[in-house]
Amino acid sequence: MNDVCSINNLTQCLLDGGVSPDLANLLTILGGVVLVATVPLVTVIFLIWIERKIAARVQDRLGPNRVGPFGLLQSVADAVKMLTKEDITPMGADKFIYNLAPIIAFATVVLIWAIIPFTPLHIGADLSIGILYFVAVASIGTVKIMIAGWSSNNKYALLGAFRTIAQLLSYEVPLVLSLLIPVMIAGTLGMQDMVRAQGSMWFVFMAPVAAVMFFIANLAETGRAPFDLLEAESEIIAGYNIEYSGFKWGMFMAGEFMHAFTAALLAAVIFLGGWWGPFVEQVPALGFVYLGLKTAVVYIFGLILRSTVPRVRIDQLMALNWKWLVPISVANVLITALLLKVVDAIGLAPQSGDFFAHLPQTLVLLVGNLVLMFGVATVLRNRGRAQRLVDEAAHPVEHEDAPVVAGAVGH
């Protein structure tokens, strides 16, 4: 018998109340679904506020500060404004598909929340294939962009969709390859098991290269600066979603903000130990706090990056992915697989769950990662030197100019 009914003991509670087991089960699952689907919708309003505040601070502005305390209700006002705007469907648009695209856009992001372990107890669905589920759901994202671009009956939207698809597909390769590393170390695809495996050592210490790759690939997947070519608001108006207005446009935008936050959440779960923290095993609800803090670190770092770095060109975007990220990810997978086997063979694999048992393995993997980083840095330096020589041969710099100018100032 439970005194208080909560989401933790809802099934038992309903059973005690005389509800049939099937119905109680269904109601519990339904409650979980509603909760998991609603939280992102509410969160996104405050995410936009945080984003605008931080961008404003970086650019030496105040940001929204008129509506509500600290401008907190600015996003609510914006949302209301968006809802009351006219909903335009362009002439010749494929209506059904045109209306379907924004729904898919937001649904694919909300679906990811189903597998995120917030605390040891709270997870939508602890699938045995958690990571693969994330990759599969994320891959549906390309479909939404294609059908939004095509159904708008606008050639700019279609071209924008092509450009975006090329970007998303390219960066999916390093994203999946970097996810392979924590899967190999933890030996599981399940999200909850993956967090448990980080109990004594976060994966970011064992696989820093994979964590950085995951972060960069996610910046591109979510269309964040410096990879925001799909929107590029200062150069072109928008891409695939140019014809959308009002609430449907809002769905795309909300999906985009939510996706960026979800990516930070996943990075915290997979590389930063998820809900682990002091006393979390005694008080599971603390997991929300720890996961929130870790996510905030990743997310705010992304936000500051967004408002400080310039946008890359499309050829630079492709070159960065195919010439750098993909080869580095493949090398990283090979090195980590080899080192894990070596560690296992010479008996350094962790036998127990405490910190010191994990230390040898972590050090070996860390050294492997450092060697890889050093290799990449060497190649980068040599390339930079070679490029500088080519540039100087093409446009000779006249070093004699400098003293003359200095002399001119002296007169």
Binding site: Y133, A136, V143, W150
Partner: protein
Amino acid sequence: MFELNAQSIAFIVFALFSLGGALGVVTTRNLIHATLYLILSLFGAAGFFVLLSAPFMAAVQVLVYIGAIAILIVFAVMLTRSMTRLSDIYNSQWLLSAIVAGLLFVLLLVGVILPVWGVNGTQAGREVSSIVTTTVDLGKALVDQNQYVLPFEVASLLLTAAMIGAIVVARDDKE
């Protein structure tokens, strides 16, 4: 034999998805709609994998097929002159191929329903195996020398060859 529970309802929904989607693919005159119907049909197949306790296969189905079909749409858009109102018949032997395809379908149906070529799974009323294989088993089977390592390697080699072939075909020789 047939009872209405959550599982059978899910089965019916997924069957409608995959059959209706497949029907849509061949009847619509709009290439984009055809690819979207194909997505629906393959999504139904992914649902069957979930019902058969093979979540790994379901995720791979969505990842490989639905994720890759966006690319198919891109190709459909880029390679065709008119995607929306296909009225020209490009193949003059369509009637012959339709009859052959119909006959093959009847043959398949007879083979599954009637015990003409020996008893098969559907007729024997076999129970679904209670052994749920995990992803780990699947991974081990793929690299086990007594199981599927040879087909696995041959398939990898074939895909690599196809990729290199595509690069060679697409490369500009003038450089």
